[in-house]
């Protein structure tokens, strides 16, 4: 009998240990980084493609002041975007390059805590090493903004950051972007931008009960995660199949929709980002979006 209990206890310890191991926040080591001369222009492109300003610059007219503090409502609670300006104490001024890579690829803070996946590292993990390094160098050139941001407003059970490790174990695959050699250069550039920095699927996909993207319905739209009762449009061919590549380019350039209307809501902020990209990059994004096979999204109540 005692032996059975002992065995059970051992098993329990083993399982707990395993879970602990699996939920340990992953880091990128500084030793892996070779010396590098960053390309600031490309860093700026990544900044605009990545939509950093949408969540971290409270004033849309001062896209470079990344003081954060903007509320993002979700079914799990309200998140407040952190200060990512290069302020030494309040922002990321004290971060090393490895800290930044760790945040972008692994979703782990310099202090070794899991970030909540409201920070779209599920997409940023696809980014190329050089692009992340360029982005970091570019962010360092922006003005430091003073001010610590208030903490997220979440239910108690979600404040256990370690639990995010389980989420990551299930939903963070750790894969970087892989090009498709059968497709054109333009398509591949678009695929990289859309699935990596621009993280389009993060809003344009339905999410499951854990708040992870339903992978079979990626890009097929769904309920507005901010709880407005609104609907985020399906951007596969099932939703915008009648858009020409030019139409999508125009949306990204000016926000003008083919029906004469303009995009509103959060997409307006996205357009402020994509409007700053090169015409070639907008064409590339449009080429990839245009190629998305028709997928039916969830049905609206």
């Amino acid at each position: 009998m005692i032996r059975a209990w002992l065995l059970l206890a051992l098993l329990l310890v083993f399982v707990v240990g395993l879970v602990w191991l699996f939920t340990t926040p992953a880091k990128v080591s500084a030793i892996e980084l070779t010396p590098y001369a960053p390309d600031l222009d490309n860093g700026k492109t990544m900044f605009n493609a990545g939509g950093c300003a949408s969540c971290h610059a409270p004033n849309p007219k001062e896209r470079n002041r990344l003081g954060g503090g903007m509320a993002l409502k979700s079914p799990f609670g309200t998140f407040y975007s952190p200060n990512i300006s290069p302020h030494p104490g309040d922002g990321i001024g004290g971060w090393s390059e490895a800290d930044f890579l760790t945040a972008m690829w692994k979703g782990t803070s310099p202090g070794g805590l899991h970030y909540y996946p409201v920070f779209p590292y599920t997409s940023y993990q696809r980014m190329r090493l050089s692009d992340v390094r360029d982005l970091f160098a570019y962010l360092k050139t922006l003005p430091p903004v003073e001010g610590k941001v208030r903490s997220h407003n979440l239910p108690v059970y979600l404040r256990v950051r370690r639990a995010v490790g389980v989420w990551k174990f299930l939903f963070l695959d750790g894969r970087q972007f892989a090009r498709d050699p059968t497709q054109s250069e333009e398509w591949n550039r678009g695929a990289y931008l859309v699935t990596g920095p621009a993280h389009c699927a993060e809003c344009h996909s339905p999410r499951n009960v854990f708040g992870a993207i339903v992978s079979t319905q990626r890009f097929a739209g769904g309920p507005d995660p901010e709880g407005s009762d609104g609907w985020i449009p399906n951007i596969t061919a099932a939703g915008i199949g009648d858009y020409a590549q030019e139409d999508i380019v125009r949306v990204l350039e000016s926000g003008d929709l083919p029906n004469g209307d303009s995009v509103g809501g959060a997409m307006r902020g996205v357009v402020r980002n994509t409007a700053e990209l090169s015409a070639d990059d907008r064409r590339a994004i449009a080429a990839y979006i245009k190629s998305l096979p028709p997928v039916e999204g969830p049905t609206r109540r």
Binding site: G255, G260, G264, A266
Partner: protein, 144 residues
Amino acid sequence: MIRTVLAMFTLALWTSVAAGQSDPVSERKSLMKGNLEGARNIVKMVRGQNSFDLEQVTAAFEQWTDTAKKLPNLFPEPPAQGTKTRALPKIWENKADFEAKIAAFAKAVSESRDKAKTLDELKIAFPPVNDACVDCHELYRRPQ
């Protein structure tokens, strides 16, 4: 007799006025539809898909002028639960800002309406109006 007619007339007037006031949601929806119609026509001209048509331009600006006049009274209170509307509750939380946005739209329309007599003029006159629409829709209109 005359009393009955008068009573009926008053009643008819009262109900029509009441009906007009009691349903600001459908009134603003039909206004917005008309606004979009005008914008769509103009966008097609600006892009060179349709030829310039002064009559359509004038009609669009008249429609927008009418809208600008009516909008301040069309958002009296948050809609009841279950109402089909894209007007976000934020409107009533930031009423002053919302009204400022309507005023900006009215200003853009009135400043541009007489400066769109040719295609080249229209290309300059239309964007400020469009920007005013977008400025408000960004914050106060629900995604689809």
